[in-house]
Every structure is written in structure tokens, then in C-alpha cells.
């Protein structure tokens, strides 16, 4: 017991010490950065990016307006926080990060236009951005044509891999498989009912989930339903759920539809403390709109929850709230967006250059020990090794961590046997 207590006392102390020590070189670097210490611009930038002796420019490209603004604001905030923290530590290769923010306006072509502007006009060294798959698909050809570097934060459907993108969120198998295994074991679940919004991510995720349920868990999918984005009428599917009585409702309904879905579930008398529901699309951000009382008891499968109890997260959450207000909540994607600037900084320092080709080559193997979700590492396929976690929604809108995988899960964007 006393041993435990000691450990608990020691670790924050040790962390503070470590942080202080880590800050030392940064402090000594600061005044010298503008003189001789920082490597010459010509040496670290051979392709004409916006790098000067004191500054390096990156782009932030999210929807600040339109329907997606509510989701993407968290990512913008996290990226700005990371950039500020990196600058406070002396920047990247002795250069402060300056950012240019562009608005994708929840409109995919605008995303492509702005990405092109950032790369061609502003010559940014990297872009932190995009949220929906549609915006990423629109931006991807631009990134490949003009050889840019995109740090993409959202969990997504996989089936993609690019030299010019680092995916800091989970691809579908990382998010889904461990969660299904857990719920099958924990709840003895055999029958599943899938409900999703009708677009590529839910469809692909459910395809993977169905193969896993049928082939690995030897269970049964008793229903699979899709609704258009923005749909608010779920009564018919709720009736079907009542008829089929599945062990688990598995949902990937996105955005505003969630509010209607969980309210109607509750109104129909489905008690989430008795009926197991596993969602891969509800984070703390969404619960803000749904209301904790409507979703309490549901399980969410993510890689990060604001309530995670680890030293990194305990410094990250207060720093985030200090910058953006006490009431903000931090969801899975917000955390993944926070990783972008940090991973880029670490990669640049390893490569010793801002050149896109060198960064792309240096990315595999980059480790970030300070991630709020815990240690992460970039895989050869430019996705992150990360843990899968299951949380249970509480009345106050936070998640209580129920389960996490023992090891990091390998990213597998083109899963064999699941296509």
C-alpha cells in the first residue's frame, strides 16, 4: 500500500523535474536561435517552402463555418494549442511556427481550393486539417500533385494510404475489432444490430464489423440499416430493434442525427443500462448535444477519452481548458488533432529538414511519448499504432474507461479477409 502511495506521490514530482530538465535546452536555445544555432535555411529547406531563418509556416484547414464547424472547432483549437506549446519550447529546428488558417466551410471543393492555395501560394511546410472523409478525398489529389504533407485527425474507414498524409486517427479495424471482441466476451453477445448514417465511413466500418461478427465471433447480424445524413426519424428502426432484440446495438450514426436517435431510443423505453449499445461515432463533443441523461450507459469505442487517467492527459486537459475555456470538452478527434503538430515537429527534427520527401521518409517509427492518449508511434503505412479503448457514457457527459487493449493495435488500412 505504502509503496503504491509513494509511487503516486513520486510520479508527478518526477514528471515536473523531467519537464524542467526538458525545458532547459529549450531556454538556452531561444536567444541563440536567430543567430548561429539553428541550421541554415538553405540546409533544411531545399524545395522552396515557407521557411525563413526564424519562422516556418504551416496551414490549418478545417471548417470554421457550416454544418461541420461544430465538430471541427475542437480540432482547430487543439492544433493551435499544440503550435503554441511547441513555440514556447523554442519551435522546430530553431524556428517559430506561424500558421495560416483557412476555412473549408463544410464544403469539399472549398477544401480542395484552400489546400491548393496553402501549398501553391503560401508554400506551407505542412497542413493540419480535414475532418470528414469527403474533405480528405477532395484534398488528397491536391496533396499528391503538389507534394504537400497533411496531418489528418479523424478516425476513418481505411482503404487509403498516401505518402503525403499522416493519419493520426484510427482506421476502421483499429477502432472496431477490439471493441467487438470485448463486448462479445464481456456480455456474451451473439446477435448484433447495425445502424449507420449513409455514407462511406459507416458502410465500410459496418462491412468490417459484419465480417468480424460472422467469421471470428461466430455471431449473427440481425439487422443493418442506413439513414441519410441529418436524418431525425428513427422510429421504424427502433421498432425493428424491439422486435429482433439484439444483444448489441452497434451504431455509427454521425452528427446531429445522434441527438434524435438517442432521445427516441430513450422515449421508446430502451434502457441503455440493460440493452448494450456500442457506438463508434459518439465522443464527448457529441454528448454535449445529445445530453448525458439520454445516452448514459452506452459504450463508445475510441482511442481517447477526456477522463483518461495518465500524466500526459492530466497536463493536456487543463492546458486545453486554460486556452479555450472551462466548459470545452475534448473528444477523440480533438486529441488526435493535437498530435499532428507534435508528430510533424518530431519528424522534422529527425529528418533534419522541412523537405516533404524527407519528412515522408522519416515518419515511420516516429514516437511521441507526450501524447494525451499515451505513447504512440507512426507505422510504415503512415497510420498510428494506438490502443483501442471502451468507455461507458456517464450522466455528466464524460466517459468512464471500462477496457483498453494491453498493447498498441497495429494499423491495417487494407485488412485482409475484411473486404
Amino acid at each position: 500500500m505504502s509503496d503504491e502511495a509513494n509511487k503516486g506521490l513520486l510520479s508527478p514530482l518526477r514528471r515536473k523535474l523531467l519537464m524542467g530538465m526538458a525545458a532547459l535546452p529549450a531556454i538556452t536555445m531561444l536567444p541563440r536561435a536567430s543567430f548561429a544555432q539553428a541550421p541554415a535555411t538553405s540546409a533544411v529547406n531545399s524545395t522552396g517552402l515557407a521557411v525563413t531563418d526564424t519562422e516556418v509556416t504551416v496551414g490549418i484547414l478545417h471548417s470554421a463555418t457550416g454544418t461541420m464547424a461544430i465538430s471541427e472547432t475542437g480540432s482547430i483549437e487543439a492544433e493551435k494549442l499544440a503550435i503554441e506549446q511547441i513555440n514556447a519550447m523554442g519551435g522546430v529546428l530553431g524556428r517559430k511556427i506561424k500558421f495560416i488558417q483557412e476555412d473549408g466551410a463544410s464544403d469539399w471543393p472549398t477544401f480542395a481550393e484552400k489546400a491548393k492555395k496553402l501549398l501553391v501560394n503560401d508554400k506551407v511546410a505542412a497542413i493540419m486539417g480535414c475532418w470528414t472523409s469527403a474533405s480528405r478525398k477532395a484534398v488528397l489529389p491536391v496533396m499528391e500533385q503538389y507534394n504537400g504533407m497533411l496531418y489528418y485527425p479523424t478516425f476513418y474507414e481505411g482503404l487509403e494510404q498516401s505518402k503525403n498524409v499522416i493519419y493520426t486517427g484510427q482506421e476502421a479495424t483499429q477502432q472496431i475489432l477490439a471493441g467487438l471482441n470485448w463486448i462479445a466476451k464481456e456480455k456474451g453477445a451473439k446477435s448484433f444490430f447495425f445502424i449507420g448514417s449513409d455514407y462511406i465511413w459507416p458502410r465500410t466500418s459496418n462491412k468490417i464489423a459484419r465480417k468480424h461478427v460472422e467469421n471470428v465471433l461466430k455471431g449473427k447480424v440481425v439487422g443493418e440499416e442506413y439513414y441519410p445524413l441529418g436524418n431525425t426519424q428513427f422510429n421504424s428502426v427502433i421498432n425493428k430493434i424491439k422486435l429482433t432484440k439484439p444483444d448489441v446495438i452497434f451504431t455509427d450514426v454521425v452528427g446531429g442525427s445522434n441527438v434524435a436517435f438517442y432521445k427516441q431510443l430513450k422515449a421508446a423505453g430502451i434502457d441503455l443500462s440493460k440493452q448494450a449499445l456500442l457506438t463508434i461515432s459518439v465522443t464527448e463533443d457529441e454528448i454535449d448535444g445529445i445530453g448525458g441523461e439520454n445516452i448514459a450507459g452506452a459504450y463508445a469505442c475510441m482511442k481517447y477519452f477526456q477522463s483518461l487517467d495518465n500524466p500526459n492527459n492530466k497536463t493536456f486537459v487543463p492546458a486545453f481548458k486554460k486556452m479555450w475555456g472551462e466548459k470545452t470538452v475534448i473528444g477523440d478527434v480533438t486529441q488526435a488533432a493535437y498530435l499532428g503538430p507534435w508528430l510533424w515537429k518530431l519528424t522534422v527534427e529527425k529528418a533534419g529538414s522541412f523537405d516533404i520527401d524527407k519528412i515522408a521518409a522519416a515518419s515511420p517509427g516516429i514516437e511521441f511519448k507526450g501524447a494525451p492518449e499515451g505513447y504512440v508511434r507512426i507505422h510504415e503505412n503512415h497510420h498510428l499504432w494506438s490502443k483501442t479503448r471502451v468507455g461507458r457514457a456517464k450522466l455528466d457527459g464524460q466517459f468512464e474507461l471500462i477496457y483498453e487493449t494491453a498493447d498498441l493495435v497495429e494499423p491495417d488500412p487494407f485488412p485482409k479477409g475484411y473486404q
Binding site: W108, V120, N121, A138, R203, Q419
Partner: protein, 379 residues
């Protein structure tokens, strides 16, 4: 000699020369390829605005569904380009190589029948014109033959825009859904992505735009154009004079649809993708706004409207990423309140009289004479 018998009268000639100079010479010389490509994108809306001048400005038929035709044209072009980009070689990581990537994601294992003809460029070009044209013919016949007009027609076109969006988003295995068709690469083996291709595409588009301007101006000057105006002002009188009002309306609506479709096809080529966000209600209304800002009665005014509003959109959103939508809204309100005839009205009221006076003074050496009104016989 009577000026009206010429193809352009003097003020139109000035408008034509100014537009040609700006699009053919000034912009290509002064802008880098990225900005020039943006202008090419703006100009795709100029085609739609041109169609709206005929249909709304002259014919008095307000269509709030031009996005439908823009989208149909764009999707036809995009289908051809997507098929070319989905060669077996390019798509070998898919479970079924040789079909577009979004079909593969949606577990479709062979190319649907209605996609097959889009392997042919000739068919595609015909489809760009005919599919929206015939669709407009069907809608127009159904509406105008029953004398549905005015507000009701506007509402129905909006409903059509909404339906088509839902259809495209819902049938994602066949259409790419909400993502649209992305990553379009080559046209008959010619890469449409590099800078020099963008410049060539820009000039192709400008030439096409001037061809369409010529057609629109021709229609305006013929008896047909005058009947359209008469119909707008006094529909019943035209009908009692023995003209089939419905047929003229259908014609104007079809022309507007075809112009919009050409714009859509050029959009797919210039921007490199197509998505349902250009089909729905919001873009359709935006297209009407471009025309209103430029001036719905003026061919050149509407084109300037499309260019300037889109330019304002780009520059406002670059400078004020959080606030730009408010700025744009304020701009629209200001234009509509202060200049109900749009930019062309402004031109006609303030700039044109000065030019006329200048010409008049040269001929008569009389600065005070401003009696040479537009369209009046010249000496």
C-alpha cells in the same frame, strides 16, 4: 444606318471588348496559374448566369434549380474522367480492379450498365448537352403546358434540386455519394492536372464562354428574344396574339439548362472533381444571386456578377476565415438594396452616360449633349 441591326450596339460592343480583353489578355498575363485556375472555376458559374439571363432576365422564368443542370453536365464529364482514371492498372489494390474506387468500397463488383457508354468521349460530350437538355424539356413541358409559372415553378425547380441531391447521396455505389467523384486525372490520356494543362483548359473555357455569349446575343436579337421579353411583361397578350407561350418558355428553360451543363462539365475539367454540393438548393440559389448581383437583364453584367461574387467569396474567406460569410451576406444585401438592377444597372446609370457623352462630344464637339440614348439611331 440603324444601330439595332448590328449584332452589338455600342455599349454592348464596349462590354464585349472589355470582357474579351480582361479574360484573354489581362488575367492570363497578370495572374499565376493557381489564381487563373480559380478564375476558370468562377467562369463555370458565368455559363449558368448567362443561361439565367435568357431564362429569368428575358423570359421572366425564375429557376431556383440551375444546380441540377450544372450537376448533370458536371457528372457526365466526371463519369468519363473517372472511368479513365480507374484503369485496371491504377486500381489494382481494389477487390475488383478496373471500376471506380467508390464502387469497390460499396461492394459493387462490375461496372453498372448506365456507366458503360461513358467510355466514349463523343458520347460523353453529347450526353453533357442532351441529358440536361432533355431533362429540362421534360420538366418544362410538364410545367409550362399546364401553365404553371412564377413562384410555383421556382418552388418545383427547388424540389427537383433537392430530389437530385438525395438521389446522388443515397445511391453512393453508383454516384460516389456525398464524397462525389474525386481524383479525376486525364482526358484521353492528356493529364488535366499540371499547370500548362490548366492554362489550356482556361482558354478553352473562355472560348466556349464567348461562343455561348454569341448564341445568347443572337437569341436576344431575333424575334424570339423579343417575344420572350413580351411574354415576361404581358404573358396573356402574347398568348392572345397567337403565340404558344409554353413552347417559348420551354425553349428558354432548355437553353439555360444547356448553358449550365456546359459550365458544369468545364467545372469537372478545371477543378478535377464533382460532388453533390453543386447540385442542391444552396448552390442553385447562389447561382441566381450571381445573376442578380451582376444584373439579370444584361449578358455581360451577369458574367461579371459570377466572376466578382466568387472572387469576393475567395478573398473574404482567405482574409477572415471566421467572419467571411457575414461579410458576403452584407454584400448581397447592400447590392440588392442599393442597386436593384445589379452592377450592370450601376454601369448603365453612371458610367454609360459619360461614355456616350464622350462619343457625342467627339462627333459634335459639344460636351453638353447627352441626348444620344442607348439604341437611338446614330447619324
Amino acid at each position: 444606318m440603324v444601330i439595332n441591326s448590328r449584332f452589338f450596339n455600342r455599349s454592348e460592343l464596349i462590354g464585349f471588348i472589355v470582357l474579351a480583353a480582361v479574360l484573354f489578355v489581362i488575367l492570363p498575363l497578370s495572374l499565376d496559374v493557381f489564381r487563373l485556375n480559380l478564375v476558370a472555376k468562377y467562369l463555370t458559374y458565368a455559363f449558368v448566369a448567362l443561361g439565367l439571363v435568357l431564362c429569368w432576365g428575358y423570359g421572366g422564368i425564375l429557376s431556383l434549380g440551375q444546380g441540377v443542370f450544372f450537376g448533370l453536365g458536371g457528372y457526365c464529364m466526371a463519369m468519363f474522367l473517372k472511368l479513365e482514371a480507374s484503369s485496371v492498372e491504377n486500381t489494382k489494390i481494389q477487390s475488383t480492379p478496373g471500376i471506380p474506387d467508390f464502387m469497390d468500397w460499396n461492394q459493387i463488383t462490375s461496372l453498372p450498365l448506365f456507366w458503360q457508354p461513358f467510355h466514349s468521349l463523343t458520347f460523353t460530350i453529347l450526353a453533357i448537352i442532351l441529358v440536361p437538355g432533355i431533362f429540362a424539356l421534360i420538366i418544362g413541358t410538364a410545367m409550362f403546358k399546364r401553365r404553371v409559372g412564377g413562384t410555383y415553378f421556382a418552388i418545383i425547380t427547388q424540389a427537383v434540386a433537392a430530389i437530385l441531391t438525395i438521389l446522388i447521396v443515397g445511391q453512393q455505389g453508383y454516384t460516389g455519394g456525398i464524397n462525389g467523384m474525386t481524383d479525376l486525372r486525364t482526358l484521353k490520356g492528356w493529364d488535366i492536372r499540371p499547370d500548362h494543362a490548366k492554362v489550356i483548359l482556361y482558354f478553352v473555357e473562355v472560348v466556349l464562354l464567348f461562343a455561348c455569349i454569341g448564341i445568347a446575343q443572337f437569341i436576344r436579337l431575333t424575334k424570339l428574344g423579343r417575344i420572350l421579353v413580351a411574354m415576361r411583361e404581358q404573358e396573356d397578350r402574347v398568348r392572345f396574339s397567337g403565340y404558344s407561350v409554353a413552347n417559348f418558355k420551354i425553349f428558354a428553360f432548355c437553353m439555360a439548362a444547356v448553358f449550365a451543363a456546359i459550365g458544369g462539365a468545364m467545372f469537372a475539367l478545371n477543378v478535377g472533381f464533382m460532388s453533390p454540393s453543386f447540385v442542391g438548393i444552396v448552390p442553385s440559389i447562389e447561382m441566381v444571386i450571381y445573376t442578380a448581383v451582376g444584373g439579370r437583364m444584361s449578358i455581360f453584367g451577369a458574367i461579371w456578377g459570377a466572376i466578382l461574387v466568387n472572387f469576393a467569396k475567395t478573398s473574404l474567406s482567405e482574409s477572415f476565415p471566421q467572419l467571411w460569410l457575414f461579410g458576403l451576406g452584407a454584400l448581397f444585401i447592400a447590392v440588392v438594396l442599393a442597386f436593384p438592377n445589379g452592377l450592370s444597372g450601376l454601369w448603365a446609370d453612371y458610367v454609360q452616360p459619360r461614355i456616350d457623352r464622350l462619343f457625342a462630344s467627339r462627333k459634335k464637339s459639344d460636351w453638353k449633349d447627352n441626348s444620344v440614348a442607348d439604341g437611338a439611331p446614330a447619324e
